[in-house]
């Protein structure tokens, strides 16, 4: 589904990604771990199509198609979703208004008619219940004044609504207390199936107790330095990132 080959990316002439290779197949969950500043979030942003980053070498293939030159919205239309580490506050647009627009714009891009209001409403209710989101919350302005946990839950709600093929969760666990973490993880697990892939980006192992990865990769200095199974995450938790850094030397 996702094939990243020798990916190099820079921002303002600073090289951040320095040769990432990663292959994610349908049905798989991959965890990407690494110390602060290692390039985890950059990788997520580059896959999602953030224009600030320049891909200087390598390629990103999604379902056999090179998506490196596509706009963020075009990647979304193909089924790529990024759950933001810091979701942006947008006063004046309600959660419902926003998600309806997002879904209908995606449908428009695929040559489909707008989703009938009744179906939309049903879907919104269903997904809100799944993530234990209060209905009142849906009429509030997008992310404005939301707590850290509410923002993250709202990201997963959007993911549930948009039903992407590939979901990248960037530090979704940060800012979540244990209850919220369980709700969010439960939501993610319910959305998972054999046709979908999930990439979980996290600093800590904690989230991986709930969303169990098939593979764990560790990024350091813009490169994947070790890959393994979920046991690698436990080992990291125990030994800390210094261990990886030392191994590198």
């Amino acid at each position: 589904m996702l094939k990243i080959k020798n990916l190099h990316a820079s921002v303002e002439d600073k090289n951040i990604l320095q040769g990432i290779n990663l292959e994610v197949k349908p049905g798989e969950i991959h965890a990407i771990m690494g110390p602060n500043g290692s390039g985890k979030s950059t990788l997520a942003a580059v896959i999602a199509g953030k224009e600030d980053y320049e891909v200087t070498k390598g390629s990103i293939e999604f379902n056999g198609e090179d998506i490196g030159d596509l706009d963020a919205e075009e990647r979304a239309h193909k089924g790529v979703f990024l759950s933001f580490q810091y979701p942006v506050e947008i006063p004046g647009v309600s959660v419902t208004n926003f998600i309806k627009t997002a879904i209908n714009e995606s449908r428009k891009a695929q040559g489909l008619d707008e989703m009938p209001a009744k179906d939309m409403l049903k879907r919104i209710r269903e997904k809100a219940d799944l993530l234990k989101i209060d209905r009142k919350f849906l009429s509030r302005s997008l992310n404005e004044g939301f707590s850290g946990g509410e923002k993250k839950r709202n990201e997963i709600f959007q993911m549930a609504m948009l039903d992407p093929k590939l979901a990248i969760l960037d530090e979704t666990d940060s800012g979540l207390d244990i209850d919220a973490l369980r709700i969010v993880a439960n939501g993610v697990n319910k959305l998972k199936n054999k046709d979908k892939a999930i990439v979980v980006i996290t600093h800590y192992q904690r989230l991986l107790d709930y969303i169990i990865p098939d593979y764990v990769h560790v990024i350091h200095n813009g490169k994947i330095v070790i890959s393994g199974t979920k046991e690698l995450a436990l080992e990291l938790e125990e030994k800390g990132y210094d261990w990886v850094k030392q191994e590198m030397v």
Binding site: E51, A72, E73, F84, V88
Partner: protein, 437 residues
């Protein structure tokens, strides 16, 4: 001949033609003198520093519209809020169109200034209110001198007017260039309530210059919600002079939506003549090309315990220019005043500009007054966020602009009007998304 000279000589012909009682006659004569002395405002005057009338005054305007040009309702329907039942006072090239209008004299008067000027039964109202709120500045004076037609609305006390009143000025291009000077008088009695929607619309590319004056009197505990839609075409310019006098405990609001036209200047003045008065001034300006919109507001707090709320949002693209000049005066007696003012702007292009200037003159010591203005760009992070959710760039920008204006839009109390404005905004931004969710 220069426009000023033309107007002065036309005035003499005009005064011969109208046969009014002495009060109005005297007022007109004083007014033309005032205009003659002052002339058209120039950029040398502080209040006109950023708005030049030079270009639009160069046209050879016809100052007396000659005849009514008949229009069919179906051709101009789109300029009405036709989804709701309403009273309508419609003018075509400055002349009243009975065909398109729906007026009333049942329990109140929703009719014409020309009738009010000429019929004896309105004489007292004219003497008590006409030109009692308008300033003596040059443009309002010019309008006063030529005032002959416009909307006359008189609501007696304890009357809830259930249907909004639409005042619509259409110009057809019958003249190669036309100057219009509508004059509206609106008196709202004690405990009464009325909603008014005003629109000026040119139907051709011929230049039109409108110098309009509206006087509104809101008596004790009266409520007035006034909406102006300014979405005219590129050769139409509007100088709107509105004066609202409020008595105690009255509530008046003005929403100004400026989306079109060549040059638009809004001189909006509120005078609070009583205690516990509430005044609201809100506006959304979305313009592009070389359009120019200037909001020049005044709130005069004269008595204690009153409030005023100003909230103006502006979005400027291409080479559009905007001006906001908000003056708040709090007199010494006006203790416990709450006066708020906000002006937020987004510049979409490098060539667009906005000059914003709050002007607070506070002579009382126990007041809460605040003002804030911002000028910025669309938030790149927000744009990226929306795009990762599948919303294309243009739609994402439109959504952010709409969201930016939403504070002002959300206080529009007529749902059909709000929907219409939303549609105009979507059109203006070139997108097809239903914001009205």
């Amino acid at each position: 001949m220069e426009l000023k000279e033309k107007l002065l000589s036309s005035f003499m012909i005009f005064e011969d033609k109208v046969d009014d009682d002495t009060y109005v006659h005297d007022v007109r004569n004083d007014a033309i003198k005032s205009f003659e002395d002052k002339g058209f405002p120039t950029k040398k005057e502080e209040a006109w520093k950023y708005t030049s009338l030079n270009k639009i005054l160069k046209e050879d305007y016809c100052v007396f519209p000659r005849q009514e040009n008949a229009l069919e309702y179906r051709d101009v329907k789109k300029y009405f809020i036709h989804e709701i039942d309403s009273f309508k006072i419609v003018f075509i090239d400055g002349k009243y169109s009975s065909h398109l209008s729906q007026t009333t004299h049942e329990g109140m008067d929703v009719c014409l200034m020309s009738a009010a000027f000429s019929k004896p039964k309105y004489r007292l109202v004219i003497e008590n209110y006409f030109n009692k709120a308008a300033s003596k500045d040059s443009l309002p004076s010019l309008n006063t001198a030529f005032s002959s037609e416009g909307a006359y609305i008189y609501i007696p006390k304890n009357k809830l007017v259930e249907k909004p009143i639409q005042i619509i000025h259409l110009s057809t291009g019958n003249e190669s260039a036309l100057m219009l000077q509508p004059r509206n008088l609106i008196v709202v009695g004690e405990n009464s309530y009325v909603q008014i929607i005003e629109r000026h619309q040119s139907l051709t590319d011929n230049p039109v210059l409108t110098n309009s004056v509206t006087e509104v009197f809101t008596h004790k505990r009266a409520i007035v919600d006034y909406y102006k839609i300014q979405n005219d075409n590129f050769n139409a310019s509007l100088i709107d002079n509105t004066f609202i006098k409020q008595k105690q405990e009255s509530i008046a609001s003005m929403h100004t939506f400026s989306f079109g036209g060549n040059l638009t200047r809004n001189n909006l003045n509120f005078y609070q003549e009583g205690e516990r008065i509430d005044s609201t001034l809100k506006g959304v300006t979305i313009i592009g090309d070389k359009q120019h919109v200037d909001h020049n507001t005044l709130v005069h707090h004269i008595e204690p315990n009153c409030e005023s709320h100003q909230d103006y949002k502006g979005i400027f693209s291409d080479s559009a220019t905007g001006v906001f000049n908000g003056k708040v005066i709090v007199e010494k007696e006006a203790q416990k005043t709450n006066a708020f003012q906000a002006n937020n702007n987004i510049l979409v292009s490098d060539k667009a500009s906005i000059n914003t200037k709050p002007q607070l003159e506070i002579f009382a010591d126990d007041v809460k007054c605040s003002h804030g203005c911002t000028i910025g760009q669309l938030d790149e992070n927000a744009l990226y966020y929306l795009r990762t959710r599948g919303i294309p760039e243009r739609e994402a920008k439109a959504l952010l602009m709409y969201a930016f204006s939403n504070n002002v839009l959300s206080s529009v109390k007529i749902p059909e009007l709000k929907q219409r404005i939303t549609k105009i905004i979507a059109n203006k931004l070139g997108v097809n998304i239903g914001f009205d969710l």
